[in-house]
Amino acid sequence: MTEPLIELIDITKSFGPVIALNGVSLSVMPGECHCLLGDNGAGKSTFIKTMAGVHKPSSGQIRVNGQAVTFANPREAMSAGIATVYQDLAMIPLMSVTRNFWMGREPRKRWGPFQFFDNEMATRVTMEEMRRMGISLREPNQAVGTLSGGERQTVAIARAVYFGAKVLILDEPTSALGVRQTANVLATIDRVRKAGIGIVFITHNVRHAMAVGDRFTVLNRGKTLGTAKRGEITPEALQDMMAGGAEMAELSDSLGGTI
């Protein structure tokens, strides 16, 4: 069995008197899509922010490639190969796809004593990566605002992959998308996974999780309720765990069992 890319063991995090995480463990293997499920307020956001270096855990351990690490800031997590694609903060709509793609890591070329933005190289690579992800751009100067929500997520994922992400954290990438766009994003996840990158896919939609997930971890009230492999658990069971069982079953019954 290969070593996990990243492993979080018994993470707790409290903000003053509020305990947001109370013992959460999770590991991500290369080429695995690990779905993190949980209802609103379950602690998903706090947990991924801990993984991404935004928060420091109150206790517990983070291991990257078997080595215990602490991240002082998001930049350190990024240089360890952990990239996060946030739901609505992934891209700047007013800027072109190329400018967004390279934001913060602009390629430069020298011209005498000056350094200029290497537009030619940036454009070529952007177009290439977009094609690979199945997005046909009209032109690289096209503003991100003209892309659909799914395409924006895909650009953000392509960017993270291109810049050497080993673990990709996707924060509810499908929550605001239509059916077709969701399918596109899920297809992108699948493609990235096949390249050996580990994915943490945060969602509260069981069907999206079942479509691409290899393992499933459910969070509820700051605790891991357990991790199950694909095929070991039914969507219904996942749904029940997320919502906390009994009362949900009642609700679901009154709605005709369709949730």
Partner: protein, 375 residues
């Protein structure tokens, strides 16, 4: 990985209508300003074409005024794209002018030292503006509105408490023989214009103590500064890494921070640059008039912002063009001086300007929506 799954990669999406070359060329943030410039030039070519507005001395007349607007518009443009405002530009102009005059005329400093000190002090104030905006998280509108009043008040106070007047003359005499002053108050290419006059291509004065001299005897440094600043800012914005950071900081500061853009540094530097531009304006004006006055630069901050907005920049940041801002400044200069040439009541200047502002901004908003997919 290279295997496409959802859709064939090379296929052209049938919903993306193919656009003509011309349309693509026209789809620029500067379109409103370009249209405005053409409109304004056509208008004055018709109503004032025979008045000498487009003769060499006429061109110099509105050219200098446009260059003045352009210098402060360039600073305001980059700052606005980075997502901030500077309402203290006008006060900064008055302040820097008085600093130069007090130091050189009243305290007898060499002119170069006075100029450099004015630049340093103004840029420090710019940095303080930026630092306060970043640290307090208050809108730059409020912070720089405060500096508008503080600086203007200080300027009058300093001027009166040192010289007991609000206008300090004698700067030209103090600048005699200085090495730095001609960089702001001088003219270049004089020989070229004398040659043009000798060839009979431009007119010469017929009478007076300058008889025989060409009506235009050189390009004022003010215009050279304007051009240099426009080129510098345009290249910085569109061709460098830092330019991308300026766009990113104004577009979405938080998203930019997440990918490692030093947003705070970018914004503070843009405040400093805005102060720099204001001081260039102030120094050139002081050298030209030979005096400094505490009320100089009044309302300049708004004129700069209007030029930038006519030029297609978004008031909330993240979008804009230096070329557009420069065209906005040109419109300003041509209209202000053109109405004088056309013999139109000069109070109509503001009416004309308001109308152009409105038209350009409506056109710009429409274009921007097409380009950026804003809804």
């Amino acid at each position: 990985m290279t295997q496409p799954s959802a859709q064939p990669p090379a296929a052209i999406d049938e919903r993306i209508a193919q656009r003509s070359k011309l349309r693509t060329m026209l789809m620029r943030p500067e379109l409103g300003a370009m249209a405005g410039t053409i409109l304004v030039f056509c208008y004055f070519a018709v109503v004032a074409g025979s008045t000498g507005m487009f003769a060499p001395d006429g061109i110099m007349n509105w050219g200098v005024v446009s260059a003045q607007f352009a210098i402060i518009a360039v600073g305001a443009c980059l700052l606005m794209i980075s997502g901030e405002f500077d309402l203290s530009v006008g006060s900064m102009i008055g302040f820097a002018g008085i600093v130069i005059a007090v130091l050189s005329v009243h305290l007898g400093w060499p002119m170069w030292a006075a100029i450099i000190t004015a630049f340093i002090v103004a840029m420090l104030i710019g940095a303080a503006n930026g630092y306060l905006v970043i640290k307090t998280g208050l809108p730059s509108f409020i912070v720089t509105l405060a500096s508008l009043y503080i600086l203007r008040g200080l300027t009058i106070y300093v001027s009166i408490s040192t010289t007991r007047q609000t206008i300090i003359g004698g700067v030209r005499e103090a600048a005699q023989g200085d090495w730095l002053a001609p960089l702001f108050g001088g003219k270049v290419l004089g020989i070229f214009f004398y040659w043009l006059a000798d060839m009979g291509w431009i007119a010469t004065f017929k009478a007076g103590n300058r008889a025989g001299q060409p009506v235009v005897d050189g390009i004022p440094m003010l215009m050279v500064w304007a051009l240099a600043l426009i080129i510098f800012a345009h290249v910085l914005l569109t061709k460098t890494r830092f330019g991308n950071w300026i766009f990113a900081s104004g577009g979405d500061a938080q998203a930019a921070r997440y990918v490692g853009v030093p947003v705070n540094r970018v914004k503070i530097l843009m405040f400093v640059f805005s102060a720099f531009c204001a001081t260039v304006f102030a120094t050139a004006q002081v050298m030209e008039f030979g005096s400094a006055a505490a009320d100089r630069g009044l309302l300049k901050e708004f004129e700069a912002i209007i030029a930038v907005v006519i030029g297609g920049a978004l008031l909330t940041g993240g979008y804009g063009s230096v070329i557009g801002a420069a065209l906005g400044a040109l419109i300003f200069g041509v209209v202000q001086q053109g109405l004088f040439f056309a013999g139109v009541e000069s109070s109509l200047f503001r009416v004309f300007l308001g109308v152009i502002l409105l038209l350009a901004v409506i056109l710009n908003t429409y274009i921007r929506r097409l380009i950026t997919g804003e809804r």
